[in-house]
C-alpha cells in the first residue's frame, strides 16, 4: 500500500509560483491555457510497428506500438485487444525506482488506455481474425525518459501519434486462416482522443503543469476529448479539492484546447 507523498519544493520557489499565479502568470511566461513547446517525432524505432517520441517542454516520452497475434477475451470474442503499459524508467527522474510498476505508472497507463479505448480510437472489431480463436493484439508501451511534469498528456499524445502512424503487414483471411500479403497497411484508426491535464494552483486552473507546478498544485484533473468535442474519459488526482464551478470551467478549458493539440498530432503524423 502506498500513500500520497507531498513532493519536495523549497518555500521560496513555491511562493514565487503562487505569487505569479495570483497575477495569472507562470514561471515560464505561459498563460494558464498554454502548453509548453511540443515536438513529436514519429517512426524513430524501426523494429516497432509504430513509435513516437514526444518532447513537451523538457518532458520526454517514447511510445512504441507492437501488433502481435493473440487470443481474444472471452467476453469480446470478435474484437482485437488493446493493452497499454507505462514504465517510469529510473533514468527519467530521481523519484523513480526500479521494480514492479507502482500505482503512479499503473494510473498513467490506465488513463492513456481509457482515452483510446473509450473513444474507440482503434476499431478493434477490424482486428479479429477468427472469432473466439485468434485476434490481433495492439501493445502500446509508454516509456517515460525524462520527467518534467505532465506525463499523462505527453504519453497520450505519444500513444495517439504512434497508433496513427503505425503500420502492420497486409493480410487476408481465407477460411479463418491468416495469410500475410506483400506491403504494409495502417491500423484501423477512427477517432483522435486528446488528453488535457490541468492543475489547480491557488485558486487558478492551469493547463499542462510543469514539474515545479505539479509540486505546488493541489488537485490534478485530466479530461480526454474526442474529435467531435465530446468527453470520453476523466481522472482526478492529488490531495486537493475542486469546486463544482472549477470543475465545469476546467472541462470547458479542455474542450476548447483539444482541437489545437489534435491538429499538432495530425501534422506530425503526416
Amino acid at each position: 500500500m502506498s500513500s500520497t507523498r507531498q513532493p519536495h519544493i523549497s518555500k521560496i520557489e513555491s511562493k514565487t509560483i503562487m505569487d505569479l499565479m495570483a497575477n495569472n502568470r507562470r514561471l515560464d511566461d505561459r498563460t494558464p491555457t498554454d502548453y509548453r513547446e511540443l515536438k513529436i517525432e514519429v517512426g524513430k524505432i524501426e523494429k516497432a510497428n509504430g513509435s513516437a517520441k514526444v518532447h513537451l517542454g523538457k518532458t520526454k516520452v517514447l511510445v512504441g506500438v507492437k501488433v502481435e497475434l493473440g487470443d481474444p477475451f472471452p467476453d469480446t470474442p470478435e474484437e482485437g485487444i488493446l493493452t497499454v503499459n507505462a514504465e517510469l524508467v529510473p533514468l527519467a527522474s530521481p523519484s523513480f525506482e526500479p521494480g514492479p510498476p507502482d500505482e503512479n505508472s499503473i494510473e498513467l497507463a490506465r488513463v492513456v488506455d481509457r482515452g483510446i479505448r473509450e473513444s474507440k480510437a482503434i476499431d478493434l472489431k477490424k482486428l479479429c481474425i477468427e472469432p473466439g480463436k485468434k485476434v490481433f493484439v495492439v501493445f502500446i508501451d509508454v516509456y517515460v525518459l525524462d520527467h518534467d511534469g505532465n506525463l499523462i498528456d505527453a504519453s497520450a499524445l505519444g500513444a495517439l501519434s504512434a497508433i496513427t502512424t503505425a503500420k502492420m503487414r497486409d493480410y487476408e483471411i481465407k477460411d479463418g486462416e491468416l495469410i500475410y500479403k506483400e506491403g504494409l497497411i495502417p491500423l484501423p484508426i477512427q477517432n483522435y482522443p486528446i488528453a488535457i491535464t490541468m492543475g489547480k494552483i491557488g485558486n487558478s486552473i492551469v493547463i499542462d503543469p510543469s514539474l515545479k507546478e505539479e509540486q505546488v498544485m493541489s488537485a490534478r484533473l485530466t479530461v480526454t476529448v474526442e474529435k467531435d468535442g465530446d468527453i470520453c474519459a476523466m481522472q482526478m488526482a492529488g490531495l486537493g479539492e475542486l469546486a463544482i464551478d472549477e470543475l465545469k470551467k476546467a472541462v470547458g478549458m479542455a474542450v476548447a484546447k483539444a482541437g489545437e493539440m489534435r491538429a499538432k498530432v495530425l501534422e506530425a503524423a503526416k
Binding site: 494510473e107 490506465r110 481522472q235 482526478m236 475542486l242 463544482i244
Partner: protein
C-alpha cells in the same frame, strides 16, 4: 442472478430501468457502523447488490517505519474484491484496477481528514468488496468515511460518493452492473457535502459537455441523499449504545 441474459433495452417504454428504478432514483441502501470487533472503526454498506465491508486501523505506529511522514499521518488504502464477488471468479491477487481504485479512493477521502494531527503514524483503510454490482468505488468511499468516523478519526466532514452515467442515451444516477457494462458512460463523483467540493471524479464512455453537466448535478444530488443516510447510520449506533446503557441502569435501579 448467475448467467443472467443481456437485456435488449436498459430503459423500458415506461421509462423504468432494468431494476425498475426511475432515472433519478438510487438503489436501496443499507449502512451500518461498528460491525467489526478488532478494527478501530468499521462500516458495512449495501447498495443494490453491492456488499462492502470497510475497516480502519489507526492512527497507529507506522510500519515499516520508512512509510511514516514527518508532518502528517500516512493514509493508505487497499481496495480489494473477493474472488466470489463477481460473475466470473477473479484472482485474489491485486489487479491493476484494484491498484488504481485504491489510489483514487484514498485521494478522495484524504482531503477531509485532519491528518496533521497524527504525524509519523499511519491510518490504514481496508475495503473488501464481498459482492459487486457496479459502483463499488463510490459505495467504498461512502463506507470508508463512515468507518473513519466510527474510528474517531477527526474529519472536516464525511465524504460521500455516487455515480451518474448515460444509458440508452439518457442520463441516470447510480448505475448498476448491467448499466455500467452495457451503458454509454459512467461518472463517479465524490464530494465533501459541507463545502460542496469535489474530491474524486472519473469518467469513461461518451458524454457531450452538456450531458456531463447534467450527469454531474445528478451525481451530486445522489451524494446529498446518501449523506443523510450516512448521518443516520452514525447516529443509530450511538442511540443503540444509549438504549443499552439506559436498560442496564433500569435493571440496577429495579434491584
Amino acid at each position: 442472478m448467475l448467467n443472467q441474459s443481456k437485456p435488449d433495452k436498459l430503459i423500458d417504454d415506461r421509462g423504468l430501468r432494468v431494476d425498475g428504478r426511475r432515472p433519478d432514483e438510487i438503489r436501496p441502501v443499507k449502512m451500518e457502523v461498528g460491525v467489526l470487533d478488532k478494527a478501530d472503526g468499521s462500516a458495512y454498506i449495501e447498495q443494490g447488490k453491492n456488499k462492502i465491508l470497510v475497516a480502519i486501523y489507526g492512527p497507529r505506529e507506522a510500519h515499516p517505519r520508512h512509510v511514516a511522514l514527518p508532518d502528517r499521518a500516512a493514509i493508505r488504502c487497499r481496495y480489494h474484491m473477493a474472488p466470489f464477488s463477481t460473475d466470473e471468479r477473479r484472482s485474489p491477487a491485486p489487479s491493476r484496477r484494484d491498484m488504481e481504485l485504491s489510489k483514487v479512493i484514498r485521494e478522495a477521502v484524504e482531503p477531509a481528514i485532519f491528518s496533521k494531527y497524527y504525524p509519523r503514524t499511519t491510518i490504514d483503510i481496508f475495503i473488501e468488496v464481498l459482492q459487486s454490482d457496479g459502483g463499488t468505488r463510490s459505495a467504498g468511499i461512502t463506507g470508508t468515511s463512515l468507518a473513519l468516523a466510527d474510528a474517531g478519526v477527526p474529519m472536516k466532514d464525511l465524504v460521500v460518493a455516487c455515480a451518474a452515467g448515460k444509458i440508452d442515451g439518457q442520463i441516470v444516477v447510480d448505475l448498476c452492473d448491467a448499466e455500467d457494462k452495457l451503458g454509454e458512460a459512467d461518472l463517479p463523483v465524490a464530494i465533501i457535502p459541507s463545502s460542496g467540493a469535489v474530491t474524486l471524479i472519473q469518467m469513461d464512455g461518451n458524454l457531450s459537455p452538456e450531458e456531463f453537466e447534467k450527469a454531474l448535478s445528478m451525481a451530486v444530488n445522489g451524494c446529498k441523499h446518501l449523506y443523510e443516510m450516512q448521518r443516520e447510520a452514525l447516529k443509530r449506533k450511538y442511540l443503540l449504545i444509549k438504549e443499552a446503557v439506559e436498560e442496564k441502569m433500569d435493571v440496577k435501579e429495579g434491584e
